[in-house]
Symmetry: C2
Subunit: 269 residues, 2 copies
């Protein structure tokens, strides 16, 4: 799976990309591996190029976030249409979703008229042959299209909307694809051992535990080495995963203590 995040605010350091972080965590927990995350600006060509490049890598899923709203700089669907060389057209199902939202707003007295102005109709213009996904929280529908065995899915950038649509319409698809595989992870912490000393110990433990991936993350400051050591594995059931991770943790802990380090289950506070 790949994620494409769209928005100038992500490229000028105004907004931290918590959407991609959240989605990567959720996809991983569902057993799907995220292979790449790309951030591009609100520019039709930049979006189209990023989508084309991702499609060439043939992932099972490409999920975009951002750029589905009513303003001029919401260009994601235009970019996707350009990448696929197909036209945008008013999708009747999407238009119905948008209309019903504004009718509800008008009924609640929030807006005077529910009329479908051009910026509102814009949100219902989808690439031909795509399907709208309902937005339980906001007005802009999301979109899914099947492109030669890749599901290309466009979600909004407002986090509450993105998360709600993901849970309702995307998570079930990812879960189905992942089958029974699940991702398991845990960390231990080590004091008084430098990363250059740890390196060959991790090599050896990974060599002896072929389904376990181990990565060290230096967390200390100069003069106070403190390492987070992250263990992960993908398995069909939690017992297998726990056995594998446990075996690797015991082996590496012993090696670290032989080399003068101290192993802890918790982060140094």
């Amino acid at each position: 799976m790949e994620i494409i995040s769209i928005g100038n605010e992500l490229l000028i350091g105004k907004t931290l990309n918590t959407n991609a972080y959240w989605m990567a965590k959720r996809a991983t927990s569902l057993g799907i591996m995220v292979k790449r995350i790309t951030i591009v600006s609100d520019d039709v060509d930049e979006i189209a190029n990023a989508v084309c490049e991702a499609l060439q890598r043939k992932p099972r899923f490409i999920i975009t976030t951002g750029g589905l709203g009513p303003t001029f700089d919401d260009k994601t669907l235009e970019g996707i249409a350009k990448a696929l060389n197909i036209k945008l057209e008013v999708n009747e199902k999407a238009l119905k979703m948008v209309r019903e939202k504004y009718e509800a707003f008008a009924k609640a007295g929030r807006i005077e008229k529910a009329e479908l102005t051009p910026p509102r109709v814009k949100m219902a213009k989808l690439p031909k042959n795509s399907e709208p996904l309902p937005n339980p929280v906001g007005t802009a529908p999301a979109m899914i299209i099947d492109v030669h065995k890749t599901f290309l899915i466009a979600l909004p950038g407002v986090p509450s909307e993105m998360e709600a649509i993901f849970e309702q319409s995307v998570a079930p698809l990812l879960g189905k694809e992942a089958g029974e595989n699940m991702f398991f992870e845990t960390s231990i912490y080590a004091d008084d051992v430098m990363e250059s000393v740890l390196a060959p110990l991790i090599d050896q433990t990974m060599h002896d535990n072929s389904y376990v991936y181990i990565k060290s993350h230096p967390k200390g400051e100069e003069g106070k080495p403190h390492m987070e050591i992250h263990f992960s594995t993908t398995a069909k059931d939690s017992k297998t995963a726990k056995d594998r991770l446990g075996k690797a943790i015991i082996q590496l802990s012993e090696l670290i203590e032989k080399n003068g380090g101290k192993v802890k289950a918790k982060k140094r506070s």
Copy 2:
């Protein structure tokens, strides 16, 4: 400029990519535009592909973060060497930097021996014809290489190290490239106006203020529209920037109030 962030932890939703956020903010403030941010895993081919693709877009700068340490999964320099089709070799200047760090650690009693074990020498193996950049905070040197008018720079992933090397060795290069251009930005906030009503007002204001970019960010919840409206411009001096932004803010504020919205200088708390 492009940023390539390297690390499995960024793709499994374990770590939020604050490095790219920080660097994008700093580069923008120095007057350099970040066009793309890519995250890939600790895999030589993935890194090499991302670097090759970025080089083909011919940005003035490509900056990678992560993967410079002593462990087996620190593969950034190997990936870069593969992308450039050149060899990694022990760089004498880099080796001197690494050696001096460990000698200082040994002197301070933090390690028994300062010997240059293979994981330590690994940090000094750089692509041929590249230059090491000193790391004032940690042990792994950074690297810079000039590839047909693109500066390709590799920084570590530990935030304090990345930031220190950026300030010391990278910021001066970016500042020189940017010349006198600086980025200016400010936001106003609007209540009681929906994004679909705001859209044509922003269009009109941007049309009348050609150097100002305006983007709306919905911040409210269902039933309580609250918009951040972000104004930005690039200019050679702050007076020009302030004049431009001020003119656009006044025009858009008047349009919003005519349409029943309320404009505020601060975020609704």
